[in-house]
Symmetry: C2
DNA sequence: GGTGTTGTTCGATAGTTGTCGAACAAGGGT
DNA sequence: ACCCTTGTTCGACAACTATCGAACAACACC
């Protein structure tokens, strides 16, 4: 299948925000910020692998991540450079917070 | 009715992001940033007043705006100070962008 | 070739959300 | 008192989304 990793500048802001507006996906992003590149399987946040795959697709199609094949696994990484360039401060603001109610 | 304007720190990040992840609501926020306080009716972005009222409710309950009565109108304003304190850079990052595809 | 691991895709389903018109409520004029 | 303006609330409806199990594909390894 085609990876379908759009250029961030082609993605509406609302799509980027919507991609980040989910708890599971935020946890994935947090893990990527801390751990760098990671396999899809490493994001076990209490959801099935079908759901996990779905969330990774949402992040990818929002231009937030890149995925490359590595054997039978896939390595995902955050496109932080582009993100910080286009939306400076966004990621820090979103991640640099405690988790309230 | 109770205004129900929660403290921003009580609102999950995902709720804040979801509130901003809509085109109509982003236009409202943009208008508030530029124009300061404004009446609900001034946000005519091609939606009915029922829909507009709904969006303003979403913003209010996400802790992003405050509403006060003024005669038959209601004045809405952005809680920018609190927003910038809790999520520094978020608003600038979200608003300081062109509108792609 | 067979088996196991890793992901993706395909329905299906339940829940959420954006949208509207119509009804309602609260004020301000006159 | 009457009407008009301004908003909110109430269904209703369509569209989207998060979730799952099961089926499938790709690869590694024995």
């Amino acid at each position: 299948m085609e990876p379908h990793e759009p250029d961030l500048t082609d993605v509406p802001v609302t799509t980027v925000l919507a991609a980040l507006a989910d708890d599971v996906r935020l946890q994935i992003v947090r893990a990527l910020v801390e751990g760098g590149e990671a396999t899809c399987g490493s994001f076990d946040f209490g959801v099935s692998k079908a759901t996990r795959s779905h969330h990774l697709k949402v992040l990818r199609e929002a231009g937030l991540t890149r995925t490359r094949a590595a054997g039978t696994s896939r390595l995902v990484r955050l496109r932080r450079d582009e993100l910080d360039k286009l939306y400076p401060g966004l990621l820090d603001a979103v991640l640099g917070t405690r988790t309230p109610a």
